[in-house]
Amino acid sequence: MANPNKVDVAVMRSMLSRARGLGAAKSGTAHWWGQRVTALALIPLAVWFVATIIQLSHQPRAAVALWMASPIHAALLLALLAAMFHHMQLGLAVVIEDYVHANRTRVGSLLLVKAATGLLFLASAISVVRLAVAG
């Protein structure tokens, strides 16, 4: 016979982590925060980007490569691309989650957006690095 005084506890852990927002989704508010942090980063980067595009729009290819050869220019452009594509992926995911209700279509389009933004980031980042290094 089981000892009536023995308390059977399987997990010595409180539910505090769930109460702190790490519920069933396990990711808490990371998505929301990610959107805001990238937005903050994009405030100066977007202004700098528009100024840059104005400067480069009438230049030949060689001048673009020369501009990109500056490590500061290349680093800022890579930072912009990283923040922008991450912000874009998070934003498009919210739009899809709001309007696409059929489970397969929703999960499919979320994965598609993730793949597309990832590939666009890689393609543009490699282009920047190639311009910066090889000219």
Binding site: I43, Q55, H58, G91, A123, L131
Partner: protein, 143 residues
């Protein structure tokens, strides 16, 4: 029933009997306040800017590839369609930028009063027009 508004106000009581009463604000009969229009515009410009990144990526890949590829993207952006797209994306960028700043203010708990929202509506619209016009004045002068 005199018009479509009344037709849309038919609901059912708890007994299942049809009653005439207002339903939730319906897009066909509810004049959207400016705040609501600007809210959905934030999302529309966001999706538009996401499409616009395709041209940025094209431009970067072309610049990293060859003179011919770069000449092609330069030619495209100087066609009337190219200029129209660039103008649309610049306006969308500045709108999303200004309204995004307002969103960050809201995230910190500022500006929720109706009078403040109306004032920030105006600031977002004025900021968008100002920055877009400024961008094109500087941009075209640099050509």
């Amino acid at each position: 029933m005199s018009d479509v508004r009344e037709a849309l106000m038919v609901g059912r009581g708890s007994t299942g009997k049809p009653v005439a009463r207002p339903l939730s604000p319906h897009l066909q009969v509810y004049r959207l306040p400016l705040t609501v229009i600007l809210s959905i515009t934030h999302r529309i410009t966001g999706v538009g800017l996401a499409i616009g990144t395709l041209v940025l990526v094209w431009w970067l890949i072309a610049a990293a590839s060859s003179d011919a590829a770069y000449a092609l993207v330069s030619w495209f952006l100087r066609t009337p369609v190219g200029y129209l797209l660039l103008f649309g994306w610049s306006a969308a960028l500045w709108y999303h930028f200004c309204n995004g700043l307002r969103h960050l203010g809201w995230d910190f708990g500022h500006g929720f009063e109706l009078s403040q929202s109306r004032a920030s509506n105006r600031m977002v619209l004025i900021g968008t027009v100002l920055f877009t016009v400024l961008t094109w004045i500087i941009g075209l002068a640099a050509q």
